[in-house]
């Protein structure tokens, strides 16, 4: 670790090592696509995903000195998971009016399997943030329940109940999915 060149950010007041900032920029540039995918799955909206990622990154920057040798990507993921289900973020999100046309419910499409995916996509957007986070961690990240509970800061029973409710809700939103599956 070299401390030869240190710059002082006059606006923020904290000292930033130039090499460390280069490493941080390299880490962000290399891991942004994967982290943005997770953020997009958690939020279901492009702008919200970008905002979530930036918010997590803003929390990680002041702690970069302590997390750079551990697991910075894991730290960012945990921040994004918990930020997504936090009360404050939910409060801010309620004031927004989603105008995404993809949120519209998708009707039956005789063309085949694509309508099933579209219907499932719309149904996923209707899940509340807590259930959606559990679904992403369980079915996209393929994490066990204990690990999901650790990441979200809750108990395994909570993870189980949220998963069960999420799947049940998806089944309610897609009552014809069995029929569509048959038609595929």
């Amino acid at each position: 670790m070299t401390w030869d060149v240190c710059i002082c950010d006059n606006e923020t007041g904290w000292w930033v090592d130039e090499d460390e900032r280069a490493r941080l920029a390299e880490f962000v540039g290399s891991r942004t696509p994967a982290l943005m995918r997770v953020a997009y799955l958690l939020t279901g909206d492009r702008n919200a995903a970008e905002d979530l990622f930036q918010s997590a990154l803003a929390r990680a920057i002041p702690k970069w000195d302590s997390i750079r040798h551990a697991d910075p990507e894991g730290y960012l993921r945990v921040v994004m998971y918990r930020e997504q289900i936090s009360w404050w973020r939910r409060f801010r999100r309620r004031r927004e009016t989603p105008l995404n046309p993809a949120d519209e419910p998708v009707g039956g499409d005789p063309s085949g399997g694509s309508d099933v995916r579209l219907a499932m996509r719309a149904a996923l957007r209707h899940l509340p943030p807590t259930q959606r986070a559990v679904v992403v961690l369980r079915y996209y990240e393929d994490l066990p329940e204990a690990r999901v509970a650790e990441l979200l800061g809750c108990s395994v029973g909570t993870v189980r109940s949220r998963t069960h409710r999420a799947v049940q809700r998806l089944r309610e939103l897609l009552p014809d999915v069995d029929m569509l599956e048959v038609r595929r």
Binding site: T12, A25, T32, E50, A58, M120, L124, Y139
Partner: protein
Amino acid sequence: MTDPFEHLIRSTLTDLAEEAPIVHDQLSRAERRVRNRRRATVTVGAVSTLAAILIATPLAVAATGSDEPPPAVPSPAGPAAVPSPSAPIPSAPTAVPTVEPSPGGGLASPVGPPGVPGRPTVSPTPLTPPGVPGKPGGPTVSPSPSSSAGPPGVPGRPTASPSPLS
């Protein structure tokens, strides 16, 4: 155990993840957000401190002044702030000399020479506080105790008051 419905969830999530937006220059934006957050934190802290001071100061002053007088006012039970004169200041002879008729009759003249038998003499009344000692042999003029001006004077030496009988 993976049923078809869960498989559908997985495949949908995988497809959805591929549609994630491609963003650039996230670090500088995040740094800007950190700056704004710190600035907001400092501003909120300063405003909160100022508000607390503005609210608490009048309350503290009111709570202090309700039971006892302000500290600037000297308490009546405290030490006497007015120094008492250590030395008595002789008061000016303000009393009107009392004139007693002599047994010989006639009016007493305050300016008359004392000691003349048969003439009215001026004698100090016992109620008069001591004043300036008079000249022996002369008519003494003593201040009246009813005079309210000045502290009591030094007890004067008893003046020689020639008695008409002596």
